[in-house]
């Protein structure tokens, strides 16, 4: 079987002036058999790999020109006018061949080159290719131009030309013809131009966009779409023009980052105009630091073949910001729930690690009096290397001016390193190589501008934080600073309360606490009554208290007003009839929410009157 090739013709052949011929040919023909054939004058053309063109040898060129001359007659019938150009590609003559061409032809073209004629459909690259053809003295065929006539009407023209040589084979210019193009070709060109315009408009968009037809086939995709690598599977990002986009989504079903089936179903609905808008995701591309993509499909009304437009939006920044905000809230909650300092810090470290997928973190509390940082809390993944490292660093003490942690103390600003080994202040801050950790970040816990401690996190994912991340680190640092300050204050209060109790034990006989109904909940020390029998009673309900209603009534009024009271006196008669005098003092107690919780205070026995003594005389006074 013998057949011709099919497909689009490539660039036109070129004819080489004889002068530069030898050099060009010798450069191109390197193989032995080819050279032998060349020397035997059995070769017609050389194919130039650099330009992708065929170079005709002079004899073949002459033969082709001779054939062209033989065909001149039928060609002449088909053209609207002919022209001749000089060696500089300037028109030096033109001849009108048909009446219709009279409107198009213009004497003003004489002296001008083709690219000087205000052709509006060719671009710089097109003209560059054409001028290259001229430089190579190559024939050109059907160069498609769009030009307005004298009345402003647009005409589509096809220009062809071939080089002219004199008898000494010297280049003398070009001669050629111009034809008005057929209506079908004009429409085709118009559509091509329209498509080119649409393509450029889409390419101008930074986000990936594609147009789908009624069958879900990608009609057009912009440059961002073609360059969108690394997106999550299931979004059909690998679909190209002519591919079935819906099928591409479905192909990712099962082992993809997202299930492409819902995306495909939604897009089918949009194409069928069953819904105007469909949004899916966002989903994250697999791998560390994978971007977040959200799919958006909309119905196109009156869009011809195009039925839907699909856009993919990179929402990584929004997702990251959302995650960081969630982290800030989580840290606030953990701190609010923390009863102890170290457990609260550990909970914060855990929250940060889980949120950012970091492997481990520690908190070093600053001891300004000793000038050191002491590790007081840590958390890490349950990997063996991580846990061993955390075990070894338990109780770590560092100089507060050493390493990256020291820089944080000094500056009050976060610092980071892509290489954990960079923290040369001590291997104690850097994870061992077997942990596979590559980066670390340190940031301070601050209160009133003072660095109270330093967080240190290590993980392969740790890198230079962006502005939003820095904001979060500062926010967490301030929250923790407040927490540490609150814990310090609470510790002081506890110490103060303990101290108070010790003092009252010295200056009073008993210490008491009451609930909001003034009933005893606790009694420490000796009193006129057993602690057990008094619990659940008020002062005025105590057994053997001498009822002095007006006095107790006044006292209860003060209690209701939440006043403190001092040295309120009352009496009680014991089982053998002796009368005891007591002084009580107290102050209201409020809970963390500021609600009244009861009273607490002290009691002191100040005198006793024996049963047989006269009323009004005390035989013993303290």
């Amino acid at each position: 079987m013998k057949q011709r090739t099919s497909g689009s013709p490539q660039s036109a052949p070129r004819a080489v002036p004889e002068r530069s011929f030898e050099k060009t040919i010798l450069r191109l023909v390197k193989g032995g058999p080819e050279r032998m054939a060349l020397e035997a004058r059995q070769i017609d053309a050389i194919v130039d790999p650099a330009s992708g063109s065929a170079i005709l040898l002079p004899e073949a060129q002459q033969a082709l020109l001779g054939r062209g001359a033989g065909r001149a007659e039928p060609i002449a019938i088909a053209y609207d006018w002919s022209w001749i150009q000089d060696e500089s590609a300037r028109f030096i003559s033109h001849t009108i061949a048909t009446p219709a061409a009279a409107r198009l032809s213009d004497q003003a073209i004489l002296g001008k080159a083709l690219w000087d004629l205000g052709i509006d459909n060719l671009h710089d690259a097109d003209w560059q290719a054409h001028r290259q053809q001229i430089a190579w003295r190559a024939p050109f065929r059907d160069l498609e131009l769009r030009r307005r006539d004298r009345d402003g009407k647009i005409h589509h023209l096809a220009v062809s030309g071939e080089p002219l040589f004199d008898e000494q084979n010297r280049f003398k210019g070009y001669r050629g013809i111009v034809r008005r193009m057929a209506a079908a070709r004009r429409i085709e060109l118009h559509l091509l131009e329209h498509r080119r315009y649409s393509q450029r408009a889409l390419d101008g968009l930074a986000i990936p966009v594609c147009l789908l037809d009624a069958a879900g086939i990608v009609m057009l995709a912009n440059r961002a779409w073609h360059g969108a690598l690394g997106g999550p599977a299931g979004y059909g990002l690998d679909a190209r023009e002519g591919d079935d986009y819906v099928a591409a989504c479905l192909a990712a079903r099962g082992d993809a980052a997202i299930d492409g089936a819902p995306a495909a179903a939604g897009i089918r609905q949009v194409i069928a105009a069953e819904r105007q808008h469909f949004r899916y995701g966002p989903a994250q591309a697999s791998g560390p630091g994978g971007i977040w993509i959200e799919l958006d499909a909309r119905t196109i009304a009156d869009g011809g073949r195009a039925r839907a437009i699909v856009t993919l939006r990179d929402v990584t920044r929004e997702k990251s910001a959302e995650k960081l905000l969630t982290l800030e809230l989580a840290v606030a909650r953990r701190l609010a729930e923390a009863a102890e300092r170290d457990s609260g810090l550990q909970a914060v470290i855990q929250a940060i690690c889980l949120s950012q997928s970091w492997e481990c973190g520690r908190f070093l509390r600053r001891d300004t009096s000793a000038g050191v940082l002491r590790q007081v809390a840590a958390w890490g993944l349950s990997r063996e290397a991580i846990q061993q490292f955390l075990d070894k660093s338990h109780g770590l003490v560092l100089r507060q001016d050493a390493g990256l942690a020291g820089r944080v103390v000094d500056s009050g600003q976060p610092v980071w390193s892509h290489d954990a080994a960079f923290d040369s202040a001590g291997s104690s801050m850097a994870l061992p190589p077997e942990a596979g950790v590559a980066g670390s970040i340190f940031f301070p816990a601050l209160h009133d501008g003072q660095t109270l401690g330093v967080f240190a996190f290590s993980s392969p994912g740790v890198g230079e934080p962006d502005e939003r991340m820095l904001h979060t680190l500062r926010s967490i640092g301030e929250q923790v600073g407040l927490f540490l300050q609150r814990m310090t204050a609470l510790e002081g209060l506890r110490r103060s309360a303990s101290h108070y109790r010790k003092l009252t034990e010295i200056s009073s006989d008993w210490h008491w606490e009451q609930d909001r109904d003034y009933r005893f909940t606790r009694i420490d020390g000796s009193g006129p009554f057993g602690a057990r029998s008094a619990l659940g009673l008020t002062h005025w309900e105590l057994p053997d208290v001498v009822p002095l209603d007006p006095q107790w009534a006044e006292h209860r009024t003060r209690l209701a007003a939440r006043w403190s009271f001092c040295d309120v006196e009352f009496s009680a008669i014991d089982s053998i009839g002796n009368r005891h005098r007591y002084l009580i003092s107290g102050e209201p107690v409020y809970d963390d929410a500021g609600l009244f919780a009861g009273y607490r205070g002290t009691g002191l026995e100040v005198g006793i009157r024996r049963k047989d003594a006269a009323l009004g005389d005390d035989d013993a006074t303290r």
């Binding site: 054939a37 035997a40 992708g52 073949a60 033969a63």
Partner: protein
């Protein structure tokens, strides 16, 4: 632009493998015309219709030639049966061409 000239295939009547060839020409070039004529003769006399031949005009399809590693035209490339062979020139030395193609010349 060169006209297309589809050629009729002759059915294979022997059990020998079909010879698959591509002739790269510059259509209208004197050597190319001669190469086609020489190859036609070889096919008629020695291959008895047991061949597939594709003619590629490098003036129209230079990139096809480049992709096939062809630098000069005319060139004949035989891809099957092995070994693959390339012959540059107008194929006027029939003896050399037959040897290169692995065809044993018929006795007169």
């Amino acid at each position: 632009m060169a006209a297309k000239r589809p050629r009729r295939a002759m059915p294979s009547v022997t059990s020998t493998p079909v010879m698959v060839m591509v002739l790269y020409v510059a259509d209208g070039g004197p050597n190319s015309i001669q190469a086609q004529a020489n190859l036609d003769l070889i096919c008629k006399e020695h291959l008895n219709g047991n061949f597939l031949l594709e003619v590629v005009d490098v003036l129209q399809f230079p990139k096809r030639a480049l992709a096939d590693g062809i630098v000069v035209t005319p060139s004949l490339a035989k891809s099957s049966p092995a070994p693959a062979v390339r012959i540059a020139g107008n194929l006027s030395d029939q003896g050399s061409v037959l040897r290169a193609l692995g065809i044993t010349a018929k006795n007169p």
